[in-house]
């Protein structure tokens, strides 16, 4: 291990495992496994790259994505436009670069909000059990009864104008339940452990048991789900935008680029209209999913 400064979060009392073969902490073990996993390293680098594209698009292109000339519409790739031009005659490369931002903003916002709501409700349901659990579990059942994409389409179609926030709020409303379920499950598993009993016997209060013992020990599946969901929300945003209920035309989004290019690309034999924005979506979603998969393999002790 080359980085002794990043101590494992759940083991503040332990010394970092610089020279030792075995470590008691799940996080230290996972960290050692992850830095040696090429899939995790590559996908993390990809995620960092995509995040920086979303944060600082001007670092990656000088072209203005809103500068469009219809006379130059759907030109194939050339020296002036490396990825060609879009249906509206804008630079395709600039559109691919600037399209990252709305997707990433929505994915991060929705993941943060669903994690917060889901972890809170899951903690209450799992820790207090009984009536609280019954109510929360029935409410999640009701939300899970609604097919995700159909639900999102019907609510967004009813709103007269859509933007990043309406798409984000609808996605949050329909997807927080997966976090509730997974948190509830792992809280119930942790709650019956001996160390929780011991803490209670020593007189610890419920909030401090939750903060010191329950939450850190049920964190692993939540982190995995959050990483996977970042990818799924990028995909969901692009899909809703493609269907016409997500972001709308003055905005720049991969879903819009694909949907306006779709028929012209096939009819006119211009595959570049689809290949570049599609590749951007695929790379982004795949980076998050590969990262989440590697995290799951590392954090699941049963898999070892």
């Amino acid at each position: 291990m080359s980085d002794p400064s990043a101590a494992a979060p759940t083991a503040p009392g332990q010394t970092p495992d610089s020279g030792r073969e075995r470590s008691a902490s799940l996080w230290a073990d996972a960290r050692r496994e992850l830095v040696h996993n090429p899939v995790f390293v590559i996908s993390t680098l990809m995620v960092l790259l995509i995040m920086s594209v979303a944060a600082f698009p001007t670092l990656f292109t000088n072209a203005d994505p809103t500068f469009c000339q219809l006379a130059q519409a759907y030109e194939p790739p050339s020296d002036a436009h490396v990825f060609g031009t879009t249906v509206q005659g804008c630079d395709m490369y600039a559109h691919v670069i600037y399209g990252a931002r709305p997707s990433i903003i929505i994915a991060v916002f929705v993941t943060a909000a669903t994690t917060a709501i889901g972890v809170l409700t899951g903690l209450f349901a799992g820790y207090y059990g009984g009536f609280t659990d019954t109510i929360i579990s029935r409410v999640t059942d009701v939300f899970l009864g609604l097919p995700f994409l159909l639900g999102a389409v019907v609510f967004l179609a009813l709103l007269p104008d859509q933007n990043i926030w309406t798409v984000g709020i609808v996605l949050v409303a329909l997807s927080w339940t997966s976090f509730t379920r997974i948190t509830r499950g792992s809280v119930i598993a942790v709650k019956s452990q001996d160390y929780v009993e011991a803490a209670r016997a020593l007189g610890a209060s419920s909030p401090s048991i939750i903060r010191r013992h329950i939450l850190p020990n049920s964190l692993a599946p939540i982190i995995v789900l959050a990483t996977l969901n970042l990818g799924l929300f990028v995909s969901a945003e692009a899909t809703l935008t493609f269907l016409g209920v997500g972001l709308q035309i003055p905005d720049i989004s991969w879903g819009i680029t694909v949907s306006e290019g779709q028929l012209i690309a096939v009819g006119g034999g211009l595959p570049h209209l689809l290949i570049f924005p599609c590749a951007a979506v695929i790379l982004t979603v795949m980076s998050f999913i590969l990262m989440g998969d590697a995290l799951r393999d590392a954090l699941d002790p049963k898999g070892r």
């Binding site: 009864g145 009813l158 104008d161 692009a238 493609f242 269907l243 209920v245 779709q262 998969d293």
Partner: protein, 333 residues
């Protein structure tokens, strides 16, 4: 079994009404905060107030509670439930009953779903079994990597890429080889009503692709686990051929979670049908919603989504009951 069925049915009723209410409440919230969908239909050229009110009344969107933010509009919900119970799902902008539109579109969507489910089951189970038998060998790594890839590609991206691949390159090439028309119809970019099955093959495969990845992974994990079981070892020890041990003894139990997954998958397939039918211009139920969204025909969107939600809930219930028949352990929990 009787007790389990009864308990499951009793749980079903609150979930059914709860989901329908949720659907209703989120819609009223959208209208209360977003504004009248009928008025936004006309854009800048607003018709007189009386016309707007008349249109709203026809589509059941004239309730005054829709102007009060946060009001759950319970009276409207009860009216809607009563209409649904009578089989009345409202009319579209051409005054056609929406149930008629759905019944006309349904056979096409059923054909598409059938192709998708057949494709994902056959290929997914075969890939999963091969990966489980050859665990950690080339075939296993190949299946694992390709399923991650399939799962990562959003359905609409896969759809448009397959559409250009098939329509732009594969079909002209096949025609150049002199392939018969019924065969090349399978690779056309849009649905053709004169080839009701052939032109649904490629869209059906696109629709099944996502679940194909999940089914392959699920079959692999569950078969690997079961191949370690004592009864599989016994079967091998008494000298049964490997194909019989895997094919009959192990696979029968390994497929139980896969069958449940296919049932749960119905919801994803319905959402996927919306995307696939939109891309390939297929006049099925998903195409109906897709078109209605483009034309902002909200009454159609609401009615079809409500109906599909009902279908989804009933299928989930049936799958749960089937699960108990297939796996006796579940009944005694």
């Amino acid at each position: 079994m009787g007790r389990y069925t009864a308990r499951r049915l009793l749980q079903f009723i609150p979930v059914l009404f709860g989901t329908l209410f949720l659907l209703h409440y989120l819609q009223t919230l959208s209208i209360q905060f977003g504004g009248d969908p009928i008025a936004s239909l006309f854009g800048d050229r607003q018709p007189p107030e009386a016309t707007l009110n008349a249109i709203s009344r026809v589509f059941g969107l004239d309730d005054p509670c829709l102007d009060q933010r946060g009001n759950p509009c319970l009276g409207m919900f009860v009216d809607r439930l009563a209409n649904y119970a009578r089989g009345d799902f409202g009319i579209d902008f051409n005054r056609q009953p929406i149930t008629d539109l759905i019944f006309r579109a349904l056979p096409i969507t059923l054909r598409l779903t059938l192709i998708a489910v057949a494709f994902e089951c056959v290929l997914g189970i075969v890939a999963g079994v091969l990966a489980a038998i050859g665990k950690d060998r080339f075939i296993d790594n190949f299946v694992r990597i390709s399923t991650v890839f399939i799962i990562s590609v959003p359905l609409f991206v896969l759809g448009v890429l397959i559409q250009i691949g098939a329509g732009l390159y594969l079909k002209p090439w096949l025609e150049g080889l002199g392939a018969p028309e019924w065969f090349t119809a399978a690779f056309s970019i849009l649905y053709q009503s004169e080839h009701p099955w052939a032109s649904l093959v490629v869209p059906g495969m696109v629709l099944g692709a996502l679940s194909l990845g999940f089914i392959a992974r699920l079959t692999r994990t569950s078969l690997i686990e079961i191949l370690r079981a004592d009864y599989v070892r016994t079967a091998r020890a008494k000298g049964l051929p490997g194909s019989r041990v895997v094919g009959v003894h192990a696979l029968r139990n390994a497929l139980i979670p896969v069958i449940t997954y296919i049932g749960i998958d119905i919801g994803a397939l319905m959402g996927g049908a919306l995307v696939t039918e939109g891309i390939f211009n297929i006049p099925g139920v998903g195409g109906l919603v897709f078109g209605a969204v483009q034309r902002k025909e909200t009454p159609v969107v609401i009615a079809v989504v409500t109906l599909l939600t009902l279908v989804f809930l009933v299928t989930s219930l049936l799958v749960d009951l089937l699960y108990a028949v297939l796996d006796p352990r579940i009944r005694y929990e």
